[in-house]
């Protein structure tokens, strides 16, 4: 085959979705494509999406697994609302994802599995590929490329002598090679990766590398694909970057919290999707003094963490929503005993077992109130996969400084999604001082000097609930410290001395003091950053403030950018601390006419804001198990801007009132 001359087209961004059967290796393919793009220097955001079943029946719709990657030559915030390119490895993958494609999207189909049997399984009455180009072509709105990926893979790897089944399993690498060619991705890191991953099985290793290279070469030589695309590296702040998922960043953050506090980390955890990766990751870091205990259940997991904290370690427990429900009573114990503890909730669709592999942020109120009695718990929420690192360090800071359990609310999207992360300098991370108690802190009898000058030294003892004036934190005296022997527990404690107390006034005081301690955390928080290009809060043109928390940061930011690009003004603020709220939040809320609160729940932050600040928070709520879509959000923001300013908002680029059309919004944000 002669060299085909290829056209190179510049793009500023692309969204690709790899989709196939759960066993087709789509997560790996997507992950490798992401790594290549990261190394190339694009900004990127990913969205893995897979079934809860490990191997759902092959070829069926429920068995479809996909990985979406959005990469660009500029700073982007979301994994993209809709794919520009779909790679479909079988009929079910095509059918399950077709509805998400905009007209004009490119589809690359592996024709090999379009057999009667597989078409039946996917619910196709006839082969949609048979009608390509016909008047009734069901795929007429798309640019469809049919390629026998599997057939070519099997042919290419023949020399390695694998069974047909093993040979065909390398088809994902063929697809990766083809897409890598198409978007000019560097290939070295994938070849290195394959060499490492399959080092012990040379024939499989070689087959995968061959398939990958053949896929690349196929792109270069075939006439099926005549255009190669170029997406230049993004301009990003200086620094060293890596691509990282939320669960990995969160694990590293916990390790860092241990290093910066000098405390050994002890994780008590019970496996649960989508949090288990944190348990897996932390179990690799024993050299940092990290102990992981896989407990018999969720309650034991937190019990072990509390026991370790009592012993002077940094107790951590990781789980998802159903696990938090089980841990509630123990979290209350940590509130009462005032011991440092980090509770990680990687939220998933609920209630009950819900949607284990899908994302949601409907545990906010559970984190806030899901315990008996007045049991305030600080809440920290990361806003992006990389941000899980510093959010974890922050959770450790609060837990240790204020002697309290802290809820760290990640979610399934952050957990498995990835983005380039600017790696921080360890020395820039906060130093966390456990400040263990070493001496008695309470005078029983003051020193006495008799008339003859003889001195009777003071008699002192230890009061476990005598508080620090600034933080209201109680002393942390660990077993093994002589003279500080004391008992703590779930029963109400007398202020100061910490003995059991049923005194009504004491209980009222202690309830208020525990709340006041959590409120004091706000003193240590930086002012909120309001993103309002129209001016300082309340002084600019923006009348609408969009406020969110957690993983909606990307879609909200992208939605606001779209609205601004169309010429309108809107402000955005994103909350990392949900309890206590930052001190300046109330003031900021009051400076805008309308407050929109997008959330992947039915309005949990809205409820808190309304209750706390008497603000008329307007909810924007979807609970589809997927991130919010930037385009839909932009629409909602635009409508509210229109309402607030008494204008008609047109996001297609025309300002109402006949002003000049501003820039087009096809540069996704």
């Amino acid at each position: 085959m002669g060299q085909v001359s290829k056209q190179v087209k510049q793009l500023d961004r692309v969204v690709i979705r790899f989709a196939g059967d759960s066993g087709d290796g789509m997560q790996l393919t997507g992950d490798r494509f992401t790594q290549e793009s990261a190394v190339f220097g694009n900004d990127l955001v990913t969205l893995p999406n897979f079934p809860a079943e490990i191997r759902a029946p092959q070829g069926t719709l429920p068995g479809v697994s996909s990985f979406q990657v959005h990469f660009a030559d500029h700073d982007i915030l979301t994994a993209g609302d809709a794919p520009d390119v779909l790679v479909a490895m079988n009929p079910a993958a095509l059918k399950a994802n077709l509805g998400d494609l905009p007209a004009g999207a490119t589809i690359i189909v592996d024709t090999h599995d379009f057999t009667k049997r597989n078409l039946d399984k996917a619910g196709y009455a006839s082969n949609p590929l048979d009608a390509l180009g016909d008047a009734n072509d069901p795929l007429g709105a798309f640019a469809v490329h049919t390629v026998d990926l599997t057939g070519m893979t099997v042919e290419a790897v023949k020399e390695h002598g694998l069974s047909r089944k093993d040979a065909s399993r390398a088809k994902n690498m063929f697809a990766l090679g083809l897409l890598s060619w198409m978007y000019g991705r560097p290939t070295e890191s994938t070849i290195e990766f394959l060499s490492r991953r399959f080092a012990k099985v040379p024939d499989i290793r070689d087959a995968n590398i061959t398939a990958f290279r053949t896929g690349w070469n196929f792109g270069e030589t075939t006439e099926t694909f005549v255009v190669q695309y170029e997406i230049k590296p993004a301009t990003m702040p200086a620094g060293t970057y890596r691509n990282i998922t939320g669960n990995l960043a969160l694990s590293y953050g916990l390790v860092a919290g241990g290093v910066r506090s000098g405390l050994p980390v002890l994780l008590g955890s019970y496996p649960i999707t989508p949090a288990s990766d944190i348990l897996h990751e932390l179990s690799k870091h024993k050299a940092f003094g990290v102990t992981t205990l896989q407990a018999e259940d969720e309650i034991a997991g937190i019990g072990m963490a509390i026991g370790a904290s009592f012993g002077g370690a940094l107790g951590v427990t990781t789980t998802s929503g159903p696990g938090v429900a089980l841990k509630s009573e123990a979290i209350g114990l940590a509130v009462m005993t005032e011991l440092p503890l980090v509770v990680v909730d990687v939220q998933r669709g609920g209630p009950s077992t819900g949607l284990p592999t899908k994302t949601e942020q409907a545990d906010l109120l559970q984190a806030m109130f899901g315990r008996n009695g007045e049991a305030p718990v600080p809440i920290v929420a990361p806003q992006s996969p990389g941000d899980c690192f510093s959010a974890a360090v922050e959770a450790v800071r609060i837990a240790v400084t204020y002697r309290t359990p802290v809820m760290l609310l990640s979610d399934g999207y952050l957990a498995n999604g990835s983005e380039p992360w600017r790696i921080p300098d360890v020395d820039d991370l906060p130093l966390i001082d456990p400040a263990f108690a070493t001496e008695p802190n309470h005078v029983v009898e003051p020193e006495k000097i008799a008339d003859d000058g003889s001195v009777t030294p003071a008699v002192q003892d230890f009061w476990p609930y005598l508080r620090d004036e600034e933080t209201l934190a109680r002393p942390w005296a660990v077993p093994g410290t002589p003279g500080l022997e004391h008992r703590i527990g779930g029963l109400e404690k007398g202020e100061g001395h910490g003995n059991i107390s049923y005194d009504p006034a004491n209980h009222d005081l202690m309830v208020r003091t525990r709340q006041a301690k959590i409120d004091r955390i706000a003193d240590s928080l930086p002012p909120l950053e309001v993103d309002d290009p129209s001016g300082p809060p309340g002084e600019g043109r923006a009348k609408v403030l969009v406020i969110g928390w957690g993983s909606t940061y990307g879609p909200i930011g992208a939605g606001c950018r779209r609205v601004r690009k169309a010429g309108y003004a809107v402000a955005q603020v994103h909350l990392r601390h949900l309890n206590p709220f930052p001190k300046d939040l109330g003031d900021i809320l009051r400076r805008y006419d309308k407050v929109l609160v997008p959330e992947m729940n039915l309005g949990q932050l809205s409820l808190l804001l309304r209750g706390r600040y008497l603000v008329d928070a307007i909810g924007y709520n979807h609970v589809r198990g997927l991130p919010l879509k930037a385009a839909e959000l932009a629409e909602a923001i635009g409508n509210l801007v229109g309402e607030a300013e008494g204008i008609t908002v047109d996001l297609s680029g025309n300002l109402s009132g006949g002003s000049t059309p501003v820039t087009s919004i096809d540069q996704e944000v």
Binding site: F288, T291, L293, F310, P482
Partner: protein, 374 residues
């Protein structure tokens, strides 16, 4: 699947890694009083818990450990107030969860002597899961299971050790629950140290506690304890002068298991032999069998079958008969020792690389494919 051979840690005694109290080297001798807190004890008059508390307070100094390195963790229930009355470190936690808290503490801190105080409801109902898993893991701790066969703190409902047919507030027509035998349960859960003793027998109680503390791993000690308010007399048969010699089957390692009216040789007239029909053991008159057939107690036997068979001699209805003593005492590596050994070995490798924590953390977060933007 892959398994790997775990290194065998040295089998030490239960308190070997705990700092010791050295009288004469700046340390004043310790007495039971040193272990009593300033809190007023608030159990009902006549409660068996008083006797156990006294015994523990006076026994603790004999362990020779530094007081600040002893920790008592309890759950919920009458007996779980125990830690408040001891001047050691302590935590009165939540219902049933004490073994999990103790597991975290004992794993994090090799230098502590960790004790769990629990009851029949706390350990066997709400905390059943944690109990069996602590036992199989063999974490270095001693569990004192106060068994009064009733719920006291909630005022008199039947417990998981109450006899079937028991009439209580929640079972006016008699309980239809079949009870647990805690010793059988523990043996089935792979426990390495299982014993039973009685609140009122201070000598036996103290001896069992000493052995339990010396055992490296999870020691389970069931203590029969009378609740004078809601289940008074539950243990009369084993306490009454006239009946106890027939009711108590004492287990002493290396000795024939003998009980009942004393014979001329000074030992009991009844003994145990293997029951070939059931695979268990049965009670016989010693005069009816060869002396060689009489079972000699072997608590160190690796196979728990005989210990289990002996545990089945416990009456499950009203307690007219029960073995007491150490059923099983075998050595097995502990979870916490092995967990710490893995940490130490990983840290050793890291130290060999000669970098401090900060440099290694920098290395960790810079792992994987990185790129630099200037």
């Amino acid at each position: 699947m892959t398994t790997t051979d775990l290194p065998t840690p040295d089998l030490r005694t239960g308190t070997e890694s705990v700092p010791r109290f050295v009288p004469g080297e700046g340390d004043q001798p310790q007495t039971g009083k040193d272990f009593s807190s300033d809190q007023e004890v608030r159990w009902c008059p006549g409660c068996g818990d008083y006797a156990v508390l006294k015994a523990v307070q006076s026994f603790l100094p004999d362990l020779g450990l530094r007081r600040e390195n002893i920790v008592f963790i309890s759950g919920i229930g009458c007996s779980s107030r125990f830690p408040y009355y001891l001047d050691t470190y302590g935590m009165h936690s939540i219902h049933g969860r004490a073994p999990s808290i103790a597991t975290g503490l004992a794993t994090a801190r090799e230098d502590l002597s960790v004790w769990v105080v629990t009851g029949d409801g706390d350990a066997l109902s709400i905390g059943g899961n944690h109990l069996i898993h602590a036992l199989r893991r063999n974490v270095n701790m001693t569990i004192l299971l106060f068994n009064n066969r009733i719920y006291g703190l909630t005022k008199g409902q039947y417990s998981p050790t109450s006899e079937a047919g028991k009439v209580t507030k929640s079972t006016p027509m008699g309980s239809v629950d079949h009870p647990f035998n805690p010793v059988s349960l523990a043996l089935g859960a792979e426990a390495t140290f299982v014993a039973r003793t009685i609140d009122s027998d201070r000598k036996h109680l103290t001896a069992v506690l000493s052995a339990a503390a010396a055992h490296r791993g999870t020691s389970l000690v069931e203590i029969y304890q009378n609740c004078p308010i809601f289940n008074d007399g539950a243990f009369d048969a084993i306490k009454d002068r006239d009946t106890k010699q027939d009711a108590i089957i004492p287990l002493v390692h290396g000795e024939q298991i003998r009980f009942g009216a004393t014979l001329e040789d000074g030992r009991g007239s009844r003994g145990l032999v293997r029951d070939l029909e059931t695979g268990g053991v049965k009670i016989v008159a010693v005069t009816d069998v060869d002396d060689a057939a009489l079972l000699v107690h072997d608590a160190h036997q690796a196979d728990p079958s005989t210990a289990f068979a002996i545990s089945r001699l416990t009456e499950m209805g009203y307690l007219n008969q029960t073995p007491i003593g150490i059923f099983r005492q075998v050595a097995r590596p502990t979870y916490d020792d092995q967990s710490r050994a893995q940490i130490t070995s990983a840290q050793h490798v890291a130290l060999g690389e000669g970098t401090d924590q900060t440099s290694r953390l920098t290395g960790l977060i810079n792992g994987g494919d990185t790129w630099t933007v200037v």
